[in-house]
């Protein structure tokens, strides 16, 4: 009986994760996990995020989990402009920017939005020796920065905060059916997201097989500083199409989980995500270059207002020598012509009260059909274009490890450290980051 009950918790854990929440096998009562997540790109953005997760399971096997986090990030972020052989000058928010190409000087506007601060720690690689910050006439802060020839244009004033809350409830409906329901909310300076999800898990074959069907609905609203820029319009013109834009995302996930042996379990998922609305990044610009490869203007990017993504995912876990090995693979494709493959593997080496878990992840994606490095001044304007490096060809690699110490029956302390490396067809894609996390888990 005890084993059966434990297994039920194992299944409940899987269900909750499929719905994008966090859950862990546990007895009845409260369990909490808190920690600080730290993500820092070399010379670019740094994010610090305290997190609290609470979970309670009652005597009727009903589980409620609550997640609260606060994310604060700042640093330099690629603005989308191409690397140039000349000095490029950009001005954030409502100010204007100049592009000097040796022969002429043209004034442009490169709105970087978000919360603009006229501060730079000079801890980045944006070569901003000519960085200036001052108050403009409207009282807003204007931050101007220069980018040297050969350097990736980075806006050094990127800064944002994000508060996120989510709650998920799952409960058994019968011996072979479990239902779940969740809500989520997040708020940033210029972005708000509200979502809900729900689904059912069928337990078959002596509970060795799980079939799950889950749905998600999310409504996002973006309110860029200075208004939503008109896609592909010159930054000089400051054309806006409104104060805010919406995006609606519908998700569906079909999941199959199977116990293969007393030591092996496998999962296969198919998911589809349909989003409609505003998909552009209002702070990303594209360089317009002349025949001599020199920038003569900048335009705001413009992405399609629809996107349909699909993915196949398979994961495998195997318990051997008292340790646990896991591997997963994901193939994703969408109607923007992106295809991607992700391989991931972990090996948890159990050493009594401690465990060490090395982790490796490899990701490769192809470019969207509207990705450009820059646009030619002589060409006619395309319908859609973005020079966001994240939409170009990209390969990323993560290597790291986690160490955990279960220092009492109800308490554990974990530390995780990883390095993340990106490389791709864009110059801006070259990036290294440190991922680390300290967390403490306890029951009460």
């Amino acid at each position: 009986m005890k084993i059966e009950k434990k297994c039920r918790w194992a299944l409940a854990g899987a269900v909750s994760t499929l719905l994008g929440t966090q859950s862990q096998a546990a007895d009845t009562g409260w369990q909490a996990q808190s920690g600080v997540r730290y993500y820092s790109e070399d010379g670019r953005v740094t994010s610090v995020e305290p997190v609290l997760q609470l979970k309670n399971t009652d005597d009727h096997d009903r589980t409620i989990s609550i997640n609260i986090s606060y994310d604060s990030l700042s640093g330099a972020s690629p603005n989308g402009a191409a690397v140039s052989d000349q000095i490029q000058t950009f001005t954030s928010t409502s100010g204007s920017a100049t592009t000097s190409n040796g022969n002429s000087v043209q004034t442009t506007t490169a709105s970087s939005g978000r919360s603009i601060s006229a501060r730079d720690d000079d801890n980045d690689d944006d070569d901003d020796e000519n960085y200036n910050g001052e108050e403009n006439e409207e009282g807003g802060t204007v931050s101007q920065y220069q980018v040297n020839p050969g350097e990736v244009p980075l806006d050094p004033s990127f800064s944002d905060q994000r508060f996120a809350f989510s709650m998920n409830i799952s409960q058994p409906v019968s011996r072979t059916l479990e239902s779940s329901f969740g809500i989520s909310y997040s708020q940033e300076t210029d972005y708000q997201s509200v979502g809900m999800n729900g689904g059912a898990t069928f337990l078959l074959n002596q509970k060795n097989t799980q079939l799950g069907l889950y749905f998600g609905l999310e409504k996002d609203e973006i309110t860029p500083g200075g208004g939503t820029p008109l896609g592909l319009s010159s930054t000089l013109e400051e054309k806006t199409v409104g104060d805010s834009e919406d995006k609606l995302v519908l998700d569906m996930l079909i999941s199959f989980t199977q116990n293969l042996s007393p030591n092996a379990i496998v999962q296969a998922n198919y998911s589809i995500s349909q989003s409609s609305g505003y998909h552009s990044d209002p702070y990303k610009i594209i360089s317009i270059i002349d025949a001599d490869n020199l920038p003569v203007d900048y335009v705001y990017e413009n992405r399609p207002d629809q996107r349909a993504k699909q993915s196949l995912y398979a994961a495998f876990k195997y318990h051997m020598f008292g340790d646990t090995f896991e591997a997963s693979y994901r193939y994703m494709w969408d109607d923007w012509d992106v295809t991607s493959q992700t391989w991931e593997s972990k090996y948890r080496l159990n050493l009594g009260r401690f465990y060490i878990q090395p982790h490796y992840r490899l990701y490769r994606q192809s470019a969207t059909n509207f990705y450009v490095d820059s646009l030619n001044a002589t060409d006619s304007a395309p319908d859609y274009a973005s020079s966001d490096y994240r939409l170009g060809e990209l390969t990323t690699e993560t290597v790291g490890a986690k160490v955990s110490w279960q220092f009492s029956q109800d308490q554990a302390l974990s530390f995780r450290l990883e390095r993340y490396h990106q490389t791709g067809e864009s110059d801006a894609a070259e990036m290294n980051a440190t991922i680390s996390q300290v967390s403490y888990k306890w029951r009460f």
Partner: protein
């Protein structure tokens, strides 16, 4: 279409009876947190947030979602 759906259902039902069956008393290892999908939810949530904001793909092991303006 109906024929196809019926066939799929039949295959699924038949498939279940042919799938491996682990007896309840053999599930000691499978019940461990480290052997459950989602047992590492705290870490997975961090990863999903990073990769959602730095890559053009999301979702797979769970619903894609996102809920942030980072991409």
């Amino acid at each position: 279409m109906k024929w196809m759906m019926s066939s799929c259902l039949l295959i699924l039902l038949y498939g279940c009876s042919a799938l491996p069956e682990v007896k309840p008393w053999q599930k000691g290892n499978l019940a461990k947190e480290e052997m459950t999908f989602g047992g590492d939810g705290f870490d997975d949530a961090f990863d999903d947030h990073i990769y959602f904001s730095k890559e053009a793909s999301s979702g797979g092991r769970g619903l894609g979602g996102g809920g942030c303006g980072c991409n």
